[in-house]
Symmetry: C3
Subunit: 116 residues, 3 copies
């Protein structure tokens, strides 16, 4: 049906285990040589924002995802809510004006949605 | 790919924080002037049914969503399970015979799916 | 838009209540005579793997789903992580090399995604 393999992971939970799972799934998909992926995205929002900030305990894993070509996006509504700015984000993380707007846009563009 | 922006939020969790998040995301999308949305829907099911009932603590927020044109839907299997009837629902909330059937139908119809 | 009704349930949580809910939703959809479903799939992954193993407390419900024609799939990355093999799975459960790859493939193929 669609010609491309594109996937977005919704990183929205605050628990450390839940965040680990979301990051692991994105890492596994990015590292899986048997699947020809056209794009992998991670959308961080609400309590899921911590890993994409430089002070986040899991920021090194997000750095690696960015290095591996994963599109990591942070919801600017969430940044505002937590008094964060773009300068608090891991290098290479993009901001999007609305996390749910971006998830809608990506799904319209053929991305599969996965909520770990 | 698709010409319309349509989004359905799956309100399925019983925790107050999780319900707040789901409602906030729907409110934000409905109130975002920068996104031209053709439809926003909320599908309430299982432990997520409480906010769409008149006795629910968050029923005022659901009333506002309905007033703002959001399509709020309640799963009738869930109503039966909790001994609720249509008269227990906030004005303007529709019932659907199957919550998961409706989520399937909406996604087939081009709705993006978001599970807060 | 799409001609078929196809739905995949993502079974990824370890809590007993969450697993019960995922299985109940799949059972309800499979048993709903009012909806003409072309396929129903369950993708078990991470902490959600237990019900699809023969030793799992809810394995009888997964057996019934398989008997009812539901496609139940287990992520082989997860099996490896928990030192499980195909012989530990309920009869009729298929393995897929990547759970998230399969979820992407199914959504590309028109499956609606539901994350209970």
């Amino acid at each position: 049906m669609l010609d491309d393999n594109k996937t977005v992971f919704h990183l929205i939970e605050g628990g450390s285990d839940e965040q680990d799972l979301a990051l692991t799934l994105a890492e596994n998909l990015a590292g899986d040589e048997s699947i020809d992926m056209d794009d992998i995205a991670v959308l961080a929002q609400a309590e899921g924002i911590d890993p994409v900030t430089t002070d986040g305990e899991k920021s090194d894993r997000v750095e690696s995802l960015v290095d591996d070509g994963v599109s990591v996006k942070a919801c600017s509504n969430t940044l505002e809510m937590f008094d964060l700015t773009e300068s608090d984000l891991v290098d290479g993380v993009e901001t999007v004006s609305s996390g749910v707007g971006e998830l809608t846009r990506l799904q319209n563009d053929g991305y599969a949605y996965i909520r770990p």
